[in-house]
């Protein structure tokens, strides 16, 4: 490798390294989709995996209980952006008494629904534990029987 090649390669390397550091996402780095939404077939899951899945989904439902708009209003437009944000905020405030009437019922319903699912989950767990201990007791009886034989 000549000195010129060495310097040239090092320069290019550094240049591209800096560019990769600036990339906001992996997609930007490789210019292709990274994540692929994947539909899980719940029937394929084992008992432990289903347990995990139930816990994850319940936790997600819990996070989404409040359907009232809470995101901060933003705009990507440079000049008229602040105006758009202001108008939207005013509109949100003016309409909130009416939307809240509807959404409050929805939030209450969501809370009840999550609580109900949680109770079902706990009840299911209790039954599962009972079943396991019955199975263990049955095995112990079988072993005792074998000892006597």
């Amino acid at each position: 490798m000549s000195e010129q090649q060495k310097i040239f390669m090092a320069r290019l390397h550094e240049e591209y390294r800096r560019m990769t550091e600036q990339a906001a996402s992996l997609q930007e780095l490789v210019k292709e989709p990274i994540d692929q939404p994947f539909q899980l077939n719940l029937w394929d899951l084992s008992a432990a995996e289903l347990d995990q899945e139930m816990a994850n989904r319940l936790s997600a439902l819990n996070d989404d209980i409040n359907t009232r708009p809470s995101e901060k209003i933003t705009s990507h437009r440079r000049v008229i952006g602040p105006l758009i944000v202001m108008v939207k905020n005013v509109l949100r405030k003016l309409l909130s008494p009416y939307t809240n009437l509807v959404l409050a019922r929805q939030v209450k319903f969501n809370e009840d629904m999550v609580a109900f699912h949680l109770a079902t989950f706990i009840r299911f767990r209790q039954l599962d534990n009972q079943l396991t201990s019955v199975g263990e007791r049955l095995n112990a009886i079988k072993d005792e029987q074998a000892d006597h034989d």
């Binding site: 390397h13 990769t20 994947f38 899980l40 432990a48 000892d147």
Partner: protein, 464 residues
């Protein structure tokens, strides 16, 4: 703009000018074929010192396929032209700070590869080369460590880095590792962490068991090679991920054992972690041992049960085991926790039988032993294994020749009694077990790893 079809891409690639492959601005996947075509057009420019054309061509490629690909091309050209004789390899393990079989697997690979590559061990929590050398008795002096903290897991509510808590709702915390992987010629993911997207020129995924299902953050299918540690693991890779693994390499086991048979004592040994969930089933071992003593007091009077293994500080399962062992006064049951390596070797040397129950009465495949390293360690020391008939254990123990396999507790009792009552059978099986264990020695592992990587690097070095 729609993507081009494979046929269109192939037509372009087979044309006289390989540079045609990137004349369009459509998004196409970066494949080995595309990479080779681009390298063929770039390399002569570099050799002829036509730097302007080279830069333009590289820019064109990076505009179409991303900046990372430009880095990948530069790295590979350095190797192809012999400007760098040793490739850079990054070996990732997010649990390197913990002692374990999987970590030993990765570190042994690092030790082998460091003879002909620059090896960096990538991890997320502090650990030193000296610690790793000490834990696994390896020479890692020419390797370096890169610690990349993952802010997502640094929150006080999280202890260990548990990929199980990452959902599609959270941002993928392992993208930091994915980014780091792009700095290497070869990236070896020894973490079983399917959420790391490989950006290196060559990527290898080591699967000790497919613990999680496919999800949005599943990238194993983006790796060039998928290694597996046992046929049992391979069958679950096919079933759970729908992927065909590429190479089978058993883990390295080196619990030594002497060529001359040592004098054995009447000890039944178990070596397994005292997992708080009880998956190694030491509680059942105590039950079976006590039952054997009650039912066959004469044959069992000399025999002891020793349960050895590692355990975290507060472990209710271990406390329960201690209570169980103390329940029957005078029962010779010894529980040894976190003992040093020397003491463990002594136990292996003295013990006659080895029990391993992991997988018994389990329906979840993850709770069945994926391989069973301690079984091989026992066999290397002429302990006759009596193990559950499932998982990786089927590949280690040939039933009736190098030990026994059982499906239920009654069979375990029967086989144990058979061995206790027949010293000749025990001695013959111990020798057969030792012979069988040679298949899994560290030397065999090192040879297989070296062969695999040398062939991979040879391909990487040439532009064919």
């Amino acid at each position: 703009m729609p993507s081009r079809t494979n046929k269109q891409i192939m037509t372009e690639l087979s044309s006289s000018d390989p540079a045609n492959a990137f004349t369009s601005h459509d998004v196409v996947t970066w494949t080995t074929t595309v990479e080779t075509a681009v390298l063929r057009s770039l390399n002569p420019l570099l050799q002829n010192q036509d730097f302007t054309s080279f830069s333009q061509q590289l820019k064109k490629t990076s505009n179409q396929y991303g900046w990372q690909r430009a880095i990948n091309l530069l790295q590979r050209l350095e190797i192809i032209n012999g400007w760098r004789d040793r490739p850079r390899i990054g070996i990732f393990d997010h649990t390197l700070q913990l002692v374990g079989g999987g970590q030993k697997y990765g570190c042994t690979i690092a030790a082998v590869l460091s003879r002909f590559c620059f090896v960096t061990l990538i991890t997320n929590r502090p650990v030193t080369i000296a610690q790793l050398e000490n834990w696994y008795n390896l020479d890692l002096s020419s390797c370096r460590i890169e610690i990349i903290p993952l802010p997502f897991f640094e929150r006080p509510e999280f202890g260990q880095i548990d990929p199980g808590i990452v959902t599609v709702r959270s941002e993928n915390p392992f993208h930091l590792i994915s980014r780091a992987s792009g700095a290497y010629d070869i990236f070896f993911n020894n973490s079983m962490l399917e959420m790391v997207y490989p950006l290196a020129n060559v990527s290898v995924f080591m699967c000790h068991f497919p613990e999680r299902r496919r999800s949005t953050y599943f990238y194993v299918d983006r790796y060039h090679h998928l290694l597996y540690n046992s046929e049992y693991t391979a069958s679950w890779i096919r079933r759970k991920w729908g992927l065909e693994p590429t190479a089978h390499i058993y883990p390295p086991i080196d619990m030594g054992g002497t060529e001359k048979p040592p004098s054995k004592e009447s000890i039944i040994l178990s070596v397994a972690r005292f997992e708080p969930g009880g998956s190694k089933q030491q509680d059942r071992m105590i039950e079976v041992f006590l039952r054997l003593r009650r039912k066959y007091p004469e044959q069992m009077k000399e025999w002891r049960l020793i349960l050895a293994g590692g355990s975290p500080a507060d472990n209710p399962f271990l406390e329960r085991l201690k209570l169980m062992a103390a329940e029957e006064s005078g029962a010779p049951i010894d529980i040894r926790v976190n003992i040093p390596n020397g003491e463990l070797r002594e136990l292996y040397a003295k013990a006659s039988l080895f029990w391993h129950l992991c997988g018994l009465q389990q329906t979840d495949p993850a709770r069945v032993e994926h391989f069973g390293m301690t079984i091989v360690e026992a066999m290397q020391n002429r302990c006759v294994p009596v193990v559950f008939d499932g998982g990786g254990q089927r590949e280690i123990v040939i039933d009736g020749k190098t030990g026994f396999r059982f499906r239920d507790r009654a069979k375990l009792m029967m086989r144990t009694l058979e061995l206790i009552s027949d010293p000749v059978l025990r001695a013959n099986m111990a020798e057969a077990a030792r012979e069988r264990s040679r298949l899994f020695e560290r030397n065999t592992f090192e040879t297989r790893i070296q062969e695999f990587f040398v062939s991979l690097i040879d391909q990487y070095k040439t532009l064919s």
